[in-house]
């Protein structure tokens, strides 16, 4: 466990010390601010002057779909590409491999490092969007805040599955930029396919990225939730095991 923790700290360190991840965080905060100001203007100023009353979703829940569908997947793709493909291409992977740690632990530490940053990012976005929301006169009730928090927390399992999938693809890539491009294209294809083949929305893990909506508010039946949980867990296990096996055999 000590060695895994050492590897985990290293992987997290490597990520947060890259400027682009800080830039991404600032971008996220800016989006929250724009949404809060925009929401405030639309519902109050325009509403009062024109008599048109527009209700925008309170900020934490309003910005979540955009982060979930666009920015967080990009963040995950960047993270796994940096920690897996780029390290392989730049021959820095061996700095960790010839340390006393089994490869599967190292691979797990890389994934956990990426997910830690994603969780940190979500926590920042939630806190900042909530502060903006509460201070700009559109305060959420305690239950509203709790539901928003639960929604953010519920996105983590599906984002973790996306990370295991991205890591698997990153293992097969030889160039960081090409891997990033392939991941974005694959993600776009998987996101669009259910529109044309509806049955895929029940099968593809990318369709479950917004599953927090099913847990919060109107509750679906237990069997449907169980079905989704099994699919999400199944994808996660398959992608992680496949990634571990490939990483274990990979030569650097």
């Amino acid at each position: 466990m000590r060695l895994f923790y050492a590897a985990y700290r290293n992987e997290t360190d490597k990520l947060i010390r890259r400027k682009k991840y800080i830039v991404f965080l600032i971008l996220g905060i800016a989006i929250c601010l724009i949404w809060a100001i925009g929401g405030s203007l639309l519902s109050d100023v325009i509403g009062r002057n024109i008599g048109l009353f527009i209700v925008l979703t309170p900020t934490p829940m309003g910005v979540l779909p955009f982060f979930l569908q666009v920015l967080l997947p990009l963040l995950i793709f960047m993270g796994v590409t940096d920690l897996i493909t780029t390290e392989g291409a730049e021959h820095t992977m061996k700095a960790m491999i010839f340390r006393p740690i089994e490869r599967w632990k190292l691979y797990g530490a890389k994934l956990l490092g990426v997910m830690t940053y994603v969780a940190f990012y979500l926590a920042c976005i939630f806190t900042i969007s909530l502060i903006f929301n509460q201070t700009m006169g559109r305060a959420l009730s305690f239950i509203g805040m709790w539901e928003a928090f639960a929604s953010y927390a519920l996105t983590l399992p599906t984002l973790a599955v996306l990370a295991t999938f991205a890591a698997l693809i990153a293992l097969l890539g030889r160039s960081g930029s090409l891997t990033m491009f392939i991941l974005v294209v694959l993600y776009m294809v998987m996101s669009v396919m259910p529109v044309f083949i509806p049955i895929l929305s029940e099968l593809l893990f990318t369709s479950f990225l917004g599953w927090h909506r099913l847990w919060i508010g109107v509750r679906p039946d237990a069997s449907r939730l169980m079905h989704m949980l099994i699919i999400v867990a199944g994808y996660g296990v398959v992608f992680f095991v496949a990634g571990t096996l490939i990483f274990d055999k990979k030569e650097y």
């Binding site: 060695l3 360190d13 490597k14 061996k94 006393p100 089994e102 030569e251």
Partner: protein, 240 residues
């Protein structure tokens, strides 16, 4: 024995690599792997460090099977293989601190000590991307020295170093061996091996052509270079 290789073979898809390599290394010994570029020196070292998987054979570090028990074996090993594996966006110190986390006995004082040994203490806060090739090689050497392992593997450690740097590498190797470490060092320069090794293994075309103690070599040949040329000529069926 600190290191034992028994009939280790690692061949790449292009047919190159190392075949049937066997040797052993005791505490305090310095084995110089001598061979031209592409002869299989690095492949042999990579197989020991677990960077590549041997197709056949057995590798033991301090009696531990390094192929099946990589984590335990690497607890007794430290390496500098090919170019130093350094994260360019981090400082030299951060690179060392990250490596230190894997070893319970390595603290900040030890990190400062190895930085002093390689004469890089004053550059510790510089980003690796701002360091010269020679400076990076010194940091790579510091990373290898950090855990003071029983087995020290150095692949062409003098690459990119100036004369003072090359002397430093030799001193570091000798000091490690004097403290009881077994050192495996590779080079394509016979003179470099002659100046520091206690045993020489000549590797050519992926095969181990000969392994002798330095004293025995120098009693029969005028230099390690002549020993190398003789072995390579014999392997080709010719004369020295």
């Amino acid at each position: 024995m600190i290191l034992e290789l028994n009939n280790v073979t690692k061949l790449y898809r292009n047919g190159r690599g190392a075949r049937d390599i066997s040797f052993a290394l005791s505490p305090g010994e310095i084995l110089g792997l001598l061979g031209p570029n592409g002869s299989g020196k690095t492949t042999t070292m990579k197989a020991i460090a677990g960077l590549v998987r041997a197709n056949e054979g057995e590798i033991r570090v301090c009696g531990i099977d390094a192929i099946t028990q990589h984590e335990k074996a690497m607890g007794h090993t430290s390496c500098l293989i090919e170019a130093p594996a350094l994260y360019e966006h981090l400082s030299a110190l951060k690179n060392l601190q990250m490596a230190a986390r894997f070893y319970e006995h390595v603290d900040e004082a030890r990190i400062s000590e190895v930085l002093e040994i390689v004469e890089m203490y004053m550059y510790r806060n510089d980003k690796v991307r701002n360091l010269s090739l020679g400076m990076r090689q010194r940091i790579g050497l510091a990373l290898a020295l950090l855990p003071a392992s029983e087995l020290l593997i150095l692949d062409e450690p003098a690459n990119g170093l100036d004369i003072e740097g090359m002397v430093l590498v030799r001193n570091v190797i000798t000091a490690a061996a004097n403290k009881g470490a077994a050192v495996l060092v590779s080079s394509h320069l016979a003179n470099e091996i002659q100046l520091c090794a206690t045993k020489v293994a000549v590797i050519h075309g992926g095969k181990l052509l000969g392994l002798s103690a330095m004293d025995d070599i120098l009693s029969e040949y005028s230099s390690v270079e002549n020993y190398f040329i003789d072995l390579v000529s014999k392997s080709r069926g010719g004369y020295a």
